[in-house]
């Protein structure tokens, strides 16, 4: 079934890599320029890995794939990522 979840499912896999939460970060879509919380992206889980698409234009913003001990992260669909870095 080709249905989508949302960016909330990125939090665990990317939490292995980054020290800050990705889902509350604002990402600017490189295709249409819209900024949205990564938690709002449409995420397809039935591809190899996870594929996140812009909820405005539908273009791929992020892909993440993991095997044991290795993570591939393709973020060329995001032109800018604004992260919350509390404690500074």
């Amino acid at each position: 079934m080709n249905t989508h979840l949302d960016g909330n499912v990125l939090a665990g896999p990317l939490g292995e890599v980054f020290a800050v939460d990705i889902t509350s970060a604002m990402g600017q879509c490189a295709s249409c320029g819209t900024s949205a919380a990564m938690g709002e992206a449409l995420v397809y889980t039935d591809a190899p890995g996870l594929v996140a698409r812009c909820r405005t234009c539908g273009e791929v913003v992020l892909r993440v794939n993991r095997t044991a001990g290795r993570t591939w992260l393709d973020m060329r669909g995001i032109s800018c990522l604004e992260l919350h870095t509390p404690g500074e």
């Binding site: 249905t3 989508h4 960016g7 665990g12 709002e40 509390p86």
Partner: protein, 250 residues
């Protein structure tokens, strides 16, 4: 607490089951003692990992149901018939068993009790779990934020936290709720059976004019339908946060 919840890379840790509660014929709440657990933000989830004797391991995400607390948390797990992980958690797991988990995870679909509200929660089935954490966090924090829960269920037997929700509805100022029954209603009571409607979502005082923060959680189709009804009713898309769960669960 929120800071502890968002800083630092995720690592696995082991909790111990202290209690298991039956919430419905197919759902169990698992109470865990997790030494060093930092607490969480209401709405966050954890990943649970099961590992077989031969080393095969698989993981799933489950929402936290309890109010934030140090060293303990509660998960409510719905058993999926063809699931790989949930049948173990609902049928086999017992108090005293260890459970490997990591979290708290997710900083987007969260509610902070310092926010004044109003807050509208829309749940489809077991999508009520992270919303229950928000309701419990509100009570625990003594928050006065007006809350309204719209809870869509197939039938009364599938309602999670029924007794607690009834107590809150009767006793707590500023907490309202409505059920939507999609297959069958309570026996002897005349209620409408069917899907979510604009009427249910726009109770007096809860229209787009009062601009509530909205949290919707449920299966993808439910979430899309609820969000679309609310946007059509004039709610700002930016005020609506959603969390979908889907067939990859189990």
């Amino acid at each position: 607490m929120a800071r502890a919840a968002v800083l630092g890379r995720l690592t696995w840790q082991v909790g111990t089951v202290t209690e298991i509660r039956e919430e419905s014929p197919t759902a169990r709440t698992i109470v865990l003692d997790v030494p060093g657990w930092p607490g969480h933000a209401a709405g966050q989830h954890v990943d649970v990992r099961l590992t077989a004797d031969d080393g095969y391991s698989t993981q799933r995400s489950y929402s936290i149901a309890s109010a934030p607390a140090a060293d303990r948390l509660e998960l409510t797990v719905q058993r999926l018939e063809d699931g790989e992980v949930s049948p173990y958690l609902t049928d086999i797991l017992r108090p005293g068993y260890p459970l490997e988990l990591r979290g708290p995870i997710g900083g987007w679909f969260v509610w902070d009790p310092a926010e004044p509200g109003p807050v509208m929660l829309v749940a489809g089935g077991s999508g009520v779990v992270p919303l229950m954490s928000m309701i419990r966090a509100r009570e625990e924090a003594g928050s006065q934020a007006p809350f309204r829960l719209v809870y869509s269920v197939r039938s009364p037997e599938t309602v999670l936290y029924a007794a607690e929700l009834e107590r809150l509805r009767q006793a707590v100022d500023g907490f309202q709720m409505s059920y939507v029954y999609t297959r069958s209603g309570p026996p002897g009571v005349k209620v409408r059976i069917g899907r979510l409607t604009p009427v249910v979502l726009s109770a007096p005082g809860w229209t787009s004019e009062t601009a509530p923060a909205v949290f919707i959680c449920g299966p993808t189709g439910f979430v899309e339908a609820a969000a679309s009804l609310l946007v059509k009713a004039g709610h700002e898309a930016g005020a609506i946060k959603t969390e979908r769960f889907g067939p990859s669960g189990g």
